[in-house]
């Protein structure tokens, strides 16, 4: 960092040079790494299992990977990927709209439509691209989006790409949504309500039954991002839309393959026939290479696994309850409900950073979340539970928090 850049960062003055703005980022990065390793640059040298890795010669217990169902090493998925790799090569080298449309893409879209019992499905190259791609094509400057205040960055970015007016409503507050739809008047019929099934930072689920009722009263549309709930919620694993009993009231369900399905990519399913036309209007769909055939094959195999076998979901919930209840009993301040995402919250950013470093030093990897990524200006350690965690590993996590995170316990 140059002297001018450092000065700009210190006194908050207006940057004069193109690169000056990075000084503030550098200062924030340095603060996070000040007590040891850089939380954003932990390198895994090898994977021992879905829940254990080697990093810099030591064993790490992984509790921040979003590998909810633990399918990343499932033999069916690995075999399907290897077979597709041998038969179709390493990549498609093009967009679905040009040379990148393979039988695997079409088959996976049919499988997703069948899984949700909906007529239309569409794949994207990542979950982020799915949110950008659907919003970019679906809404525009003459429409409106009603967005939950804690929505993921990809949903904010999708709205920005679409150029649509955005009105935020209070997180998980149907009354706040209702007020804003009322204020739109006749424009409510051109409004899209955008929420998540399970919120990824605090692990709280959306009150979808109430939200669906309100959107219907105003004639609006409903978009639900199930990135963190696919395969986890509902009797068949179709997410919070299934567990809330609103599958016939949702207009667009979007999700990712990078969590429960253990790969990468994204999807949208919908009852609306225009879904197939989104392909012609979605820049993040048109102007990027399609998913690699091997990835498509592993996702299809993982989807088959969760359709045929609910044992992973049951193991996940058993582990989630054990971890959430154990940390709550130990006196930590957690998110509002038990879910596979467990947030240990504390207002002091420095204390949370130090606790993260202490856990890593003890061989436990969790996620460090500081503002502006955290919803209320506080900081937190985020754990994501896996079906593949053993009871002994859950106990190891509880013991690690007991030993290394005393400073995060609220004063009594």
């Amino acid at each position: 960092m140059s002297e001018a850049q450092a000065d700009s960062a210190q006194n908050g003055s207006t940057p004069v040079d193109l690169l000056d703005k990075f000084a503030a980022i550098d200062a924030a990065r340095a603060e996070m790494a000040s007590h040891g390793e850089d939380p954003t640059r932990v390198v895994l040298d090898g994977l021992i299992s879905p829940t254990e890795a080697r990093s810099q010669g030591r064993r790490l217990l992984l509790a921040g990977t979003n590998n909810y169902l633990g399918l990343t090493f499932h033999p069916d998925c690995v075999a399907a990927g290897q077979d597709a790799l041998a038969r179709f090569g390493t990549g498609t080298t093009g967009s679905r709209m040009a040379n990148g449309n393979y039988t695997g893409h079409e088959a996976l879209e049919r499988a997703f439509a069948e899984f949700y019992d909906l007529p239309h499905a569409m794949l994207f190259s990542t979950g982020y691209a799915a949110n950008l791609g659907v919003l970019n094509a679906l809404v525009g400057p003459d429409d409106a989006v009603l967005l939950d205040a804690d929505a993921h960055a990809s949903l904010y970015d999708g709205c920005k790409l679409a150029g649509v007016p955005v009105y935020r409503f209070k997180h998980n507050d149907p009354a706040s949504l209702d007020k804003r739809l009322k204020r739109l008047g006749d424009r409510a019929r051109r409004a899209l309500v955008v929420v998540e099934g399970l919120y990824s930072i605090l692990g709280d689920s959306a009150p979808l039954a109430e939200i669906a009722q309100i959107k219907a009263q105003h004639g609006a549309y409903l978009f639900v991002d199930e990135a963190h709930s696919l395969g986890i919620y509902g009797a068949h694993g179709r997410g919070v839309v299934e567990s809330a009993g609103i599958e016939n009231q949702v207009d667009f369900v979007v999700g990712t393959f990078s969590k429960s399905l253990g790969a990468t990519g994204g999807y949208c399913v919908s009852p609306h026939a225009i879904t197939d036309l989104l392909r012609y209007a979605s820049r993040p769909y048109i102007f990027t290479a399609s998913l690699c055939p091997s990835v498509v094959a592993t996702v299809h195999a993982a989807l088959d696994v969760i359709r045929a076998d609910d044992s992973h979901r049951k193991s996940l919930w058993r582990n989630a309850r054990a971890l959430y209840e154990g940390l709550a009993a130990a006196g930590f301040a957690l998110g509002p409900e038990c879910s596979p995402v467990v947030a240990v919250r504390h207002p002091d950013r420095g204390a949370v950073i130090q606790a993260w470093q202490a856990l890593l030093g003890a061989g436990v990897y969790v996620n460090l979340i500081v503002p502006p990524a955290s919803p209320d200006g506080g900081s937190l350690l985020r754990l994501s539970v896996s079906a593949a965690h053993t009871p002994a590993q859950i106990d190891e996590l509880l013991q690690a928090f007991e030993t290394h995170c005393q400073a995060l316990r609220p004063a009594r």
Partner: protein, 81 residues
């Protein structure tokens, strides 16, 4: 209905800031630099402002808001005349 005077709106915003975020402000207060508020806190405060005045503020409009006086102007623009 005539729109309220900007000074009245500003005074109401100062009261709301005290009530919601426990911070003291003046019309010239810069919400980010002077109050050291995180962007998420400012957005949450604006949600309270919307409900208080029963108005709808577009997220994009907040990009140009730095001082409390500018926020007061934005609230006034969005009030029905």
């Amino acid at each position: 209905m005539t729109k309220p005077d900007p000074a009245i709106i500003t005074a109401e915003l100062i009261r709301l800031l005290q009530e919601e975020l426990d911070v003291t402000a003046t019309p010239e207060t810069n919400l980010v630099d002077d109050l050291a508020l995180e962007s998420v806190q400012i957005m949450a405060f604006v949600t309270e402002v919307e409900d208080h005045f029963d108005i709808a503020i577009e997220l994009e409009a907040l990009a140009d808001i730095h001082s409390l006086a500018e926020l007061a102007d934005l609230v006034r623009e969005n009030l029905d005349s």
